[in-house]
């Protein structure tokens, strides 16, 4: 029973991480319908930026965190302005391959400066944050990451619900032409959604780095794990991304614990194929994809 609960807790926390990582991805897709294959590298950029600020520049944690968010914001903005904007209206394959190319460039830059080794952040979480339930122990990083995840989820929920920019973003996602004709600055919305998505990605990257240490290859692999998560949750639903993340996380840890550790990495993709065949718009997505 303890084993089960420990797996449950692990699965929930890993799932929440997946959900967090997927959030930025969904945000980009929701407003500009771009399938971002560079998402894992955006996570890694944030994680390494934080690493540079904390260990090399020696800044205090909260300052480094804020600067990382700001840096990721600028990065996302620049990526949209320089690379994605010329491609508005181009066919899907070019947009997809552009993000694949960007992923390669980011990965190359990170490998050039940091190599493929594992880096770690200095210890900064207070040890008292860990929670002990009977025989089950939840480590402090998981508590902190769950906390950050929930805070950001609520913040974004409020942002999309009430702020003008959030409403513009939703309107563009809903119907680009209608939004354009009602005076929404669609290009600005694209830029903003990339910037915010990169910011969320940077934050998720830091959380991932705190939990597993930072390694270019591992973090960018998470970027591919995002696909089963978002398809399960629905490509355009931010809440769905979190739920999908948690389901995939639980599925992974239970497969790992009860069946076989090697199956762990392939189960999400098997689920992905099944969902695509049965319910392609996911659990919470809008059911308006075009059937052939």
């Amino acid at each position: 029973m303890d084993f089960f609960i420990q797996l449950l807790v692990n699965g929930l926390s890993i799932g929440l991480l997946y959900g967090l990582s997927a959030m930025g991805f969904v945000m980009i897709f929701k407003s500009s319908s771009v399938l971002n294959f560079a998402h894992g590298e955006l996570l890694a950029m944030g994680a390494f930026f934080f690493l540079v600020l904390t260990t090399w520049a020696g800044l205090p944690i909260y300052l480094a965190f804020l600067l990382t968010l700001a840096g990721s914001f600028v990065l996302g903005f620049a990526v949209e302005r320089l690379f994605l904007r010329p491609l508005i209206g181009e066919s899907l394959i070019f947009v997809i391959m552009l993000t694949v190319g960007l992923a390669s460039i980011f990965k190359g830059i990170l490998l050039f400066f940091f190599g493929g080794n594992l880096h770690t952040y200095p210890e900064f979480l207070p040890a008292g944050l860990g929670v002990q339930f009977g025989n089950v122990f939840i480590p402090p990083v998981y508590v902190a990451s769950s906390f950050i995840g929930i805070v950001f989820l609520v913040l974004f929920g409020l942002f999309f619900k009430f702020s003008p920019q959030g409403i513009f973003m939703r309107s563009v996602a809903d119907n680009q032409t209608a939004a354009l004709s009602l005076g929404v600055h669609v290009k600005k919305v694209f830029a903003l959604s990339w910037a915010i998505a990169a910011m969320v990605a940077g934050m998720s990257g830091i959380v991932l780095g705190v939990i597993n240490g930072i390694n270019v290859h591992e973090i960018s692999a998470i970027g591919l794990k995002v696909f089963p998560v978002v398809i399960l949750g629905g490509l355009d639903s931010i809440g769905g991304a979190i739920i999908g993340g948690i389901i995939i996380g639980l599925l992974e840890t239970f497969t790992c614990g009860y069946i076989s550790p090697s199956l762990r990495d392939v189960v999400p993709y098997a689920v992905l194929v099944c969902i695509l065949l049965i319910k392609p718009y996911g659990l919470f997505g809008l059911a308006e994809i075009e059937r052939v």
Binding site: L35, F83, P86, L87, E90, S91, L92, I93, F94, I96, M97, L98, V100, G101, L102, A103, S104, I105, F106, K107, G108, I109, L110, L111, F112, F113, F114, G115, G116, L224, F227, P228, I231, S262, D265, V266, Y269, A270, L272, V273, L276, L277, P280, I289, E290, R291, V292
Partner: protein
């Protein structure tokens, strides 16, 4: 004897047969023959073994890229699983040759058919899905096949890999770079000829119709789903065929190379070469394979100078960066790829000195 024509003096086509003709002038025929003579008669004898090895790699990549171009460039379906289909071909050839002891000339097409079957299985979602949903489905296919290649140990021997027997053709043993050069490039010429002609039949026209507007195509009586599956099948056949030759050429194979990275490399070849262009796929294969080799050579130089090793400048980072830059720059500045550049250069020559 009919008169040779060396220069088209305008667009005077009167029938569809003239429209789809391969060679508009005898000039093209002449250059093709000259090119083939150079390829088969001169290149294998003047090139060093390393040069021939690079040529062989280009040839194998070009076969796979031609197949992918049928799928992406002509049918408008995106597959992120071609690296895995290539791997299926390689493993199928290896297993058929070692377990059943089949000869080379049976193994290679059979491996192609195995890959075609696999490709069609992962093409089934295209019956319901299109666009990015289909792309994600093929991505899942890539990961599932990769997993099976490593973990289905009774069949693939897992990480141990398989050692293939010597390839023989018509009683001759094919080993070393020069014999393989002839085999690979004969196959490439045949495959190019086949692709060109598939595109001139009703199958090719149906693919193009589906790419341009699938609803209109259906309205005109093209059964979309069978044609999409067929496109998946043909393109995976090419990938598996290339994979099988590669396996015999490499002698021993493991599951390592058939990753998502390889799939992306093939798509990059198709895009950099030019979507929906047969010479483009070959240009793309030359470009990407050449880029890989140049980067390897550069890294060796840096390494031997010993200056950059401590800084983490290794093959991986340089390669990723250059590869990504090539894709991004081509998409942003020349989305029609090398084929378009080739066309512009050619028409400049033809129209010189009045090239406007």
């Amino acid at each position: 004897m009919r008169r040779f024509s060396f220069h088209a003096c305008g667009n005077f086509k009167e029938s569809y047969a003239q429209e789809i003709t391969i060679f508009e002038t005898d000039f093209g025929r002449f250059w093709l023959l000259a090119g083939l003579a150079l390829l088969f008669g001169v290149l294998p004898f003047v090139g060093s073994p390393y040069f021939l090895y690079v040529c062989n790699m280009i040839g194998i990549a070009a076969i796979a890229a031609l197949g992918l171009n049928i799928l992406i460039g002509y049918t408008g379906l995106i597959s992120l699983g071609h690296g895995a289909f290539f791997g299926v071909g390689a493993y199928a050839a290896a297993i058929l040759a070692t377990r059943l002891g089949l000869p080379f000339w049976v193994c290679v097409p059979a491996a192609g058919f195995m890959a075609a079957l696999t490709g069609m299985v992962f093409g089934i979602p295209s019956g319901r899905l299109k666009g990015l949903y289909l792309t994600i489905a093929t991505l899942a296919g890539q990961f599932i096949i990769e997993y099976l290649l490593v973990h289905w140990e009774s069949l693939t021997q897992g990480t141990m890999g398989i050692v293939l027997p010597e390839a023989t053709l018509f009683g001759l043993v094919i080993d070393g770079d020069r014999p393989f050069f002839y085999v690979i490039f004969t196959c490439l010429v045949l495959v190019t000829w086949m692709t060109k002609n598939i595109m001139r039949t009703r199958f090719g026209r149906a693919f193009i119709a589906i790419r341009d507007n699938d609803r209109a195509a259906e309205g005109m009586g093209i059964p979309i789903f069978p044609y999409k599956l067929l496109s998946f099948g043909i393109s995976s056949f090419y990938a598996g065929f290339a994979g099988a030759i590669w396996a015999f050429y490499m002698i021993s194979i493991t599951s390592e190379p058939f990753t998502l990275g390889l799939s992306v490399e093939y798509i990059a070849m198709v895009i950099i070469g030019g979507l929906g262009s047969i010479p483009g796929a070959i240009f793309g294969a030359v470009f990407i394979t050449g880029l890989n080799e140049i980067l390897r050579w550069l890294t060796d130089i840096f390494m031997s100078m010993g200056m950059a090793t401590g800084f983490g400048l290794n093959m991986a980072s340089l390669r990723e960066l250059a590869f990504g830059l090539a894709i991004v720059l081509f998409i942003l500045f020349e989305p029609k790829g090398l084929a378009e550049i080739w066309r512009i250069v050619r028409s400049n020559f033809r129209l010189w000195p009045f090239s406007y």
